[in-house]
Symmetry: C2
Subunit: 213 residues, 2 copies
DNA sequence: CGCCCCCGCAAACATACGTTTGAAACATAT
DNA sequence: ATATGTTTCAAACGTATGTTTGCGGGGGCG
């Protein structure tokens, strides 16, 4: 990863190891030894393991949410309308996630895995933290999705949004083994974009069924 | 839980605690103390924690796969055809899962959470074990799904199946908090069946888009 | 009875973990 | 050059984990 100081090296390695093995299964010792820093550095710079985990999420999510909000603003201003189509919206999210990490295209996938882990976290500490920290952007997204599928009652749309979220997170979260299986079964190697190209219509179809227009 | 011996009590408690907190986060001591058995009983009866985890899956999955296979056979014989509709198939899976645990309706959901955890497992030991143990039933399901949506290329269907699986597992895996949010946002309490009733059309729509007939 | 085998139990064992400590190294500014 | 605040380091601490051990009880059988 990048070449800067101890803090960044810890964050880089932690992000990768957490995504590979989960939070509980990743020890601070494995992080610090791979990062080439002293064990005590984590507690010195972050305070605790829990704080490290939050810092990993923060480093990705804060710029991402800012960029996404800006992209939505821009798009709304361009079209002059007050709402976006479902495809526009989904593509916007996917594009900002990709463009924000142009140097390392795999990072978006890695991070989707982290979000999947956060959702499956037992006590939900992380879920609550993320909801309180980035709830605004998330609520805005939810509102836009609801407007993009008129005629679908809000409660129904709430569930559909989570179904869609499940598809995305689950797939991107276990992408590597899935791509290996697909390659073994169907011969040709699949690219990441192929999967996204298939994923977006799938969730669109599910989200908008029964909607007017 | 049932009233039988030590082994069953361990399995009952382990199933529940694993679903609540994950495998790594659940200690043998928490299992044995809640089950009211001695700590050493786990290693005595199962050999290791890993073997316990596999036993939990086996106790649920072996009867389930057998019942599902039988149900599919029966349905195929009834209709006289060689394939089933997508709705038939999905309903069949849901129904056997529910009917097999009529005494404890929540168990199917609990177990979906376990499957979700197994999928997110780091090294994939569990994934491999389940694939080798229950691969036959799984392959048959996959084949039937493919036949139910003619005109969709196999590779495309492979991915859509995993998208659908993601919706189901993700949703049922985190059902409790989701239902709480839904209740807070929309007032009336949602039943489990309501969610399933919404989930099935969602995945059907995504699975069959672009299919002939 | 005496033997054996299965099971339950308290205790100990070894290991891995997150965290803390105190001193050394470093940088920076006066 | 001295002093001050920050960062790094090796080592230790306390705790929790999975696993093993050795003893004891109880039921079936010769």
């Amino acid at each position: 990863m990048t070449q800067h100081g101890t803090v960044a090296r810890i964050l880089d390695t932690a992000e990768q190891l957490f995504a590979e093995k989960g939070f509980a299964e990743t020890s601070l010792r494995s992080i610090t030894s791979r990062a080439g820093v002293n064990l005590a550095a984590v507690n010195y710079h972050f305070g605790s393991k829990k704080a490290l985990i939050q810092a990993v999420f923060e480093r990705f999510l804060t710029p991402f949410c800012a960029a996404l909000d800006a992209a939505i603003d821009r798009r709304l201003a361009d079209t002059g309308a007050e709402q976006l189509s479902l495809e526009d919206l989904l593509a916007l999210v996917a594009r900002t996630a990709i463009e924000l990490n142009a140097r390392d295209p795999a990072r978006g996938v890695v991070f989707m895995r982290l979000i999947g882990l956060a959702y499956n976290e037992s006590q939900g500490h992380l879920r609550r933290y993320l909801a309180s920290r980035y709830g605004n952007t998330f609520a805005r997204l939810q509102r836009l999705v609801r407007q993009a599928a008129p005629g679908v009652p809000p409660a129904e749309m709430f569930w559909r949004a989570h179904f869609a979220l499940g598809s995305v997170i689950f797939t991107l979260s276990g992408l590597a083994p899935l791509m290996a299986i697909a390659e073994a079964d169907f011969g040709r190697r699949q690219a990441f974009d192929d999967v996204v190209q298939r994923l977006l219509p799938f969730v669109s179809a599910g989200l908008r069924q029964g909607a007017n227009a």
